[in-house]
């Protein structure tokens, strides 16, 4: 679990009573702690669905407030996409402030590199090795950072590197790569596996549920490593 900054819940919500002992989430979120989770990637990669699964896991767990905000603009046209999810006993703003990300889940390597400065010291960065080179790279002015993962792995952060596509291919289909990444994140959050599975069921077509469950489990394996 990452170091927590004392955030800003009103005094009334700070004491959480007897439930705290039994419920790991209540303990985790006691004292006004808010988990700030940012999912980033490229339009079309499934960032929005991943965010919905994470938010639903917190909601299905119960007793927590969840707020979410998404990149606005034309995410379907191959631009950068980001989704902010904030979970706590009380949450005020739906967006995460710069430098306060507790968990960065990057679906694409360069996007991970771009948002890395926003992670709080001691926060967790999970990066997918997939690289999507934007057309702009061919124009000469900017070059694509093919060394993004290596640059992230400079010893200054808690980093998990996932080859989401490889794991998804093993599971059976590249399209479940996003759920592999959610699985890798899930070990850091205080929700039961069954809760995650219910959250996944809410967000994927029924015929894909088994494959997504397997993808989630495989991702959890990576996250534990």
């Amino acid at each position: 679990m990452s170091a927590k900054k004392a955030k800003t819940a009103p005094a009334a919500s700070r004491t959480r009573g007897g439930k705290a002992a039994a419920d790991p989430a209540a303990r985790h979120y006691a004292g006004g702690v808010v988990d700030d989770i940012m999912v980033v990637g490229v339009g079309g990669q499934g960032v929005i669905v991943a965010a919905a699964i994470i938010a639903d896991a917190a909601l299905l767990h119960g007793g927590l407030e969840v707020k979410l905000s998404e990149t606005r603009g034309m995410s379907q046209r191959g631009g950068s996409v980001s989704s902010h999810i904030r979970i706590g006993a009380t949450v005020i703003a739906p967006s995460i402030s710069p430098g306060e990300v507790d968990y960065l889940l990057a679906f694409e390597a360069a996007e991970g590199l771009r948002l890395a400065p926003s992670v709080v010291p001691g926060g967790v960065t999970i990066v997918n090795t997939q690289q999507i080179v934007p057309p702009l790279a061919a124009q000469g002015e900017h070059s694509y950072p093919f060394d993004a993962v290596a640059r992230l792995d400079d010893g200054s952060r808690r980093l998990t590197v996932v080859d989401g596509n490889a794991v998804a291919a093993q599971v059976g289909d590249l399209r479940v790569a996003g759920v592999v990444l959610v699985g890798a994140l899930s070990t850091h959050l205080p929700f039961a596996v069954e809760t995650w599975e219910r959250a996944i069921a809410r967000n994927v077509p029924a015929s894909w549920l088994e494959m997504n469950r397997a993808a989630f489990a495989a991702g959890r394996g990576v996250g534990d490593a």
Binding site: A55, L68, S97, A148
Partner: protein, 594 residues
């Protein structure tokens, strides 16, 4: 109780449905699109994508005058388009409740402008509510219908993109059974002739006074007592700025305004008397600040909080810090991202039907007066061919004016999409024809309103409600407007694009060119029609194909004369063939044709 995580816009739709809304009419626009898109999913609601915001407003207004509850929704620019009925309907009032949603975009994440829509309240005297989260979006919309009928006036709910596009929890309720009211027949109410409109203006002002009394006592004008070190700091705020201010300075004492026109100035004065230092936190213009100052209350505001862009918690926090408050969380400006990483702006999709013409216009070096749609993405590198793209419908009249100003050597033209042409292009073309100006107009017809996510328009066979309808014939419209030179062209045929443009520019009289390929994403994703591949032997790295900016093409590792050869991503190429047509050495071929 039933609680859901909802987008602000979804919550507005839910609140309207619960309030018994029966007619919803709007033109899409970020960030308001999801409101009517969601209302269309509820039973008992007639919902439509209207041709433009003024039409949408008037359809909803007509339904309200006809005795049922009705809603219209628009982005800021749409409120400008609909400003005429927006102002006039406050004079007439309504019969069934009318709620007008206006969603602004501080920060301009969808481009255009970041105008402060709260001034629509002042200019029209329409009462205006401003929710801060999804629960309030839901509750305020419900309340707005009730207020509309109580005060016989349309009620505006003003959203900011932050409110419209965040998700938070909403306790939902059931739908009220609201019977149609008897519309009667009231010329003195609905005919704005001087005889009627003069007394109507007087009663409008009297109504504003009554609404101000309502705002003074309303639970929407809410004091939230502070705690701790900042309890003596008072903050007057509303909407998205309230959320940011609460996050930035949680212990302060807040006066949270839910009604921003007319303002409860007495409540503000009373609040001011209870605190040591009074701040106004508001996005964009000093709208509250100026009215509070005019009421004789000293307040600090825009000297700390910028009038530019979105007021995020960090920007509000930095403002309070600059004002001398001891706030360690905001003491330092922290980096949000690494700016040195290659930017990734949105681009035209692989196989987009707009790409061929954009590249052809660039080749001919024309002065292009664009309009608003996906084709604007070609105003950025590598195509960068556009000279103007300002507001919907501007392309053709601007081209006419430019031609009247003397035009340009290489030629100029107007470029407009099908949805935008039907929104506000027709009258511009009619004018140019009538004035006998030799304009050239390219209608990029992809048979959908694409940029906002694929909404139907009169060019489609289906309406929003799914009913079969007759698609409009764009060439037929142009012919009826008096254009004689009308050419339809396949935008995947690069030579044909060049020829059509040249012929249109050379034509003595107004000329219209219409493209005929559908959008790749909407209404459904178009699959590949064969794919193309690069013969690495033949590729001489000339970079001609890279001028297209196709996201499926990238540089290969191989280099020829210091330049990268190119490669095509087989999993995403849709087979439009444009790159093959631009390839001089003939290195790009249809896969399998080698």
């Amino acid at each position: 109780m039933d609680t859901h995580l909802m987008l602000g816009n979804e919550a507005v739709a839910r609140g309207a449905w619960e309030a018994g809304v029966q007619v919803a009419a709007a033109y899409p626009g970020t960030p308001s699109t999801e409101i009517v898109a969601n209302l269309a999913k509820y039973d008992g609601v007639y919902a439509e994508w209207s041709t433009n915001e003024k039409v949408g407003y008037e359809v909803a207004f007509g339904a309200a005058v006809g005795g049922v509850r009705a809603l219209t929704a628009m982005k800021s620019a749409g409120a400008s388009v609909a400003a005429d009925p927006l102002i006039s309907s406050v004079y007439t009032g309504i019969c069934g409740g009318l709620v007008v949603i206006v969603a602004g975009d501080p920060g301009m994440s969808s481009g255009m402008t970041e105008q402060d829509d709260r001034y629509f309240g002042r200019i029209s005297n329409m009462p205006m509510l401003e929710p801060a989260d999804s629960q309030e979006c839901h509750d305020f919309t419900r309340l707005a219908f009730a207020l509309s009928e109580t005060y016989d006036v349309p009620v505006m709910v003003r959203l900011s993109i932050q409110t419209a596009h965040q998700k938070s929890l909403v306790r939902v309720g059931e739908r009220d059974a609201v019977a149609r009211r008897d519309p009667g027949r009231h010329a003195d109410k609905y005919c704005l002739l001087p005889k009627f409109s003069r007394p109507l203006h007087a009663s409008l002002l009297a109504r504003v006074a009554r609404l101000r009394d309502y705002a003074e006592a309303s639970p929407l004008t809410r004091v939230e007592p502070g705690t701790g070190a900042f309890a003596r700091i008072g903050v007057v705020t509303s909407g998205a700025a309230y959320i940011s201010a609460r996050e930035a300075l949680p212990g302060a004492t807040f006066l949270k305004l839910g009604i921003v026109h007319p303002l409860p100035l007495e409540a503000i004065k009373r609040f001011a008397a209870t605190v040591e230092r009074l701040f106004v936190v508001e996005e964009l213009e000093p709208y509250l600040e100026e009215q509070i100052l005019a009421a004789g209350v000293a307040v600090e505001g825009k000297q700390w909080f910028s009038p530019l862009g979105e007021l995020t918690p960090v920007r509000v926090g930095r403002g309070f810090y600059a004002a001398g408050l001891d706030l360690p969380r905001w003491a330092q400006q922290k980096a949000a991202e690494d700016d040195s990483v290659i930017p990734r702006p949105p681009v035209l999709c692989t196989g987009c039907p707009h790409r061929g013409m954009a590249t052809a216009m660039k080749k001919l070096d024309l002065d292009v007066h664009g309009d608003i749609g996906c084709y604007d993405l070609t105003s950025l590198p590598p195509v960068s061919h556009m000279h103007a793209a300002v507001e919907m419908g501007a392309s053709i009249p601007m081209e006419q004016g430019f031609t009247r100003a003397g035009g340009s050597k290489k030629g100029s033209l107007a470029v407009i999409g099908d949805s935008t042409f039907l929104h506000s292009g027709l009258t511009g073309l009619l004018n140019a024809v009538h004035q006998r100006t030799n304009v050239t107009v390219l209608i990029q017809d992809n048979s959908i309103t694409a940029m906002t996510g694929g909404q139907t328009n009169p060019g489609n066979e289906k309406t929003l409600a799914g009913a079969q309808t007759k698609p409009v014939d764009l060439a037929g419209i142009c012919r009826a407007l008096g254009v004689e030179h009308i050419v339809t062209v396949d935008p995947y045929d690069y030579e044909a694009c060049l020829e059509a443009l040249k012929a249109g520019l050379a034509c003595d009289g107004p000329a219209v060119i219409i493209t005929n390929r559908p959008c790749m994403l909407f209404p459904r994703k178009v699959g590949a029609d064969g794919i193309y591949e690069v013969d690495a032997e033949l590729c001489n790295a000339c970079q001609q194909c890279m001028k297209l900016g196709c996201p499926s093409m990238h540089h290969a590792a191989a280099v020829f004369k210091k330049r990268h050869k190119v490669d095509i991503d087989a999993s995403t190429c849709t087979g439009c063939s444009l790159c093959a047509q631009l390839c001089t050495p003939g290195a790009i071929k249809k896969a399998g044709d080698a």
